[in-house]
Subunit: 211 residues, 2 copies
DNA sequence: TAGATTGTTAATCGATTAACAATC
DNA sequence: TAGATTGTTAATCGATTAACAATC
């Protein structure tokens, strides 16, 4: 709706870090911060910080800096954290369990309202209060509850199948933990978490150390 | 030791994807691939792929392309996946549990040989066969077993304390899941997994969809 | 050999940094 | 007002893409 020209993904991926530090400052009761101070905290240059923020508007004030509370609120809006999202998890293994039970997402407005598994009949462990449903109910559940986000913590072999169900059911965003590149229509937002890629990167630099 | 001039982090982070597709090709019994075909698979341009690989050597052959098995092996070496690493997990919550029990890391040469918790006395759930030790034993355990990698799945409040123990004990790499920026000496390799950053990024694009 | 595809140099594009006038 | 710090333009740097000679 705004004329706002496409902001680059590199900028977007820095926003959560700004948001995190602003949350801390807010908690500490600090109500003013300059790009230079924010630079010390985040490790980004002051210049870059000002450039980044100015993609979304002039939140600062010359000679003063930025108001912590205001900037925090604005970044929250930009990231969509002022909204409530409903999410489901498909794949009730250890990782699905961890994601479904991590309280921090709920606090940020992401409410996980269902967990689904193919192995409903004999799950290997207790899901800690969260009722685990059979995968066959996934589609109806999403439609009935207007679920926004589908989380995939299945094995890589089942991930695309689950994604297809998500897409068919009208989900808008997929948070994928399976190590596959999912095929999704372009109006579906896909965000991948690549745990082994991250570990391999660590390994690369360890090797450089001569280990 | 090699004269190899510092390869940029953006290149490094693409390597695991190449490696993943080459593993797949290998499994399918395909033994030859061109940069153009690899481009179709990965979504990177053929030109970029050739540039990336040539940071590490000329693995291809004019008129032919790349030998899948050879390139796979070379990338494995570059990423350090031909080595064995010992790792420990600090923080035996849901996420620590998931990481410690995920078999895939073991297969890639990362052996998690210990799990540590502050709440050893009354862990809220069973750790599935993995013995959970008290945090007080962490330092000696690392020294006695020559542990390479320390994984942090504690709350953010305890993460730096754990990192300090890791550093003191001689660990070389830290894989951090806690949402804090850890302070570590520069000879320690630090790799962060930012789950909420990833979720916030998803949220940003969902919002753009008008949700 | 003719065709294909690399390795590499040069051109382009985008992102970061520097600089400074505007202004609180 | 004087000092500080933004917003923004210009300069630099780095990464991606294009092009093509080398060569299998």
């Amino acid at each position: 709706m705004t004329k706002e020209t496409q902001v680059s993904i590199t900028v977007i991926r820095r926003l959560p870090k700004y948001y995190r530090y602003l949350s801390e400052l807010l908690q500490k009761g600090i109500n003013r911060i300059s790009s230079q101070e924010l630079s010390k905290l985040t490790g980004f240059t002051a210049s870059q910080i000002r450039q980044d923020l100015n993609n979304f508007g002039g939140f600062g004030q010359q000679g003063y800096g930025y108001n912590v509370e205001e900037l925090h609120k604005e970044l929250g809006k930009i990231l969509g954290l002022n909204k409530e999202y409903k999410a489901v998890v498909a794949g009730a293994g250890n990782l699905g369990n961890a994601i479904a039970n991590y309280g921090g997402f709920k606090d940020a407005g992401f409410d996980i309202i269902g967990v689904f598994s193919r192995y409903y009949k004999d799950l290997p462990f207790d899901m800690e209060g969260l009722e685990v449903r059979d995968m066959s109910e996934l589609e109806d559940f999403i439609k009935d509850n207007n679920v926004d986000i589908g989380i995939i913590t299945t094995s890589k072999d089942n991930a695309q199948k689950v994604a297809d169900i998500y897409i068919k059911s009208g989900i808008k965003g997929i948070w994928n933990f399976a190590p596959v590149d999912l095929v999704v229509p372009e109006d579906i937002v896909l965000e991948n978490v690549r745990l082994s890629d991250s570990l391999y990167t660590l390994s690369y630099f360890l090797k450089g150390l001569g280990k």
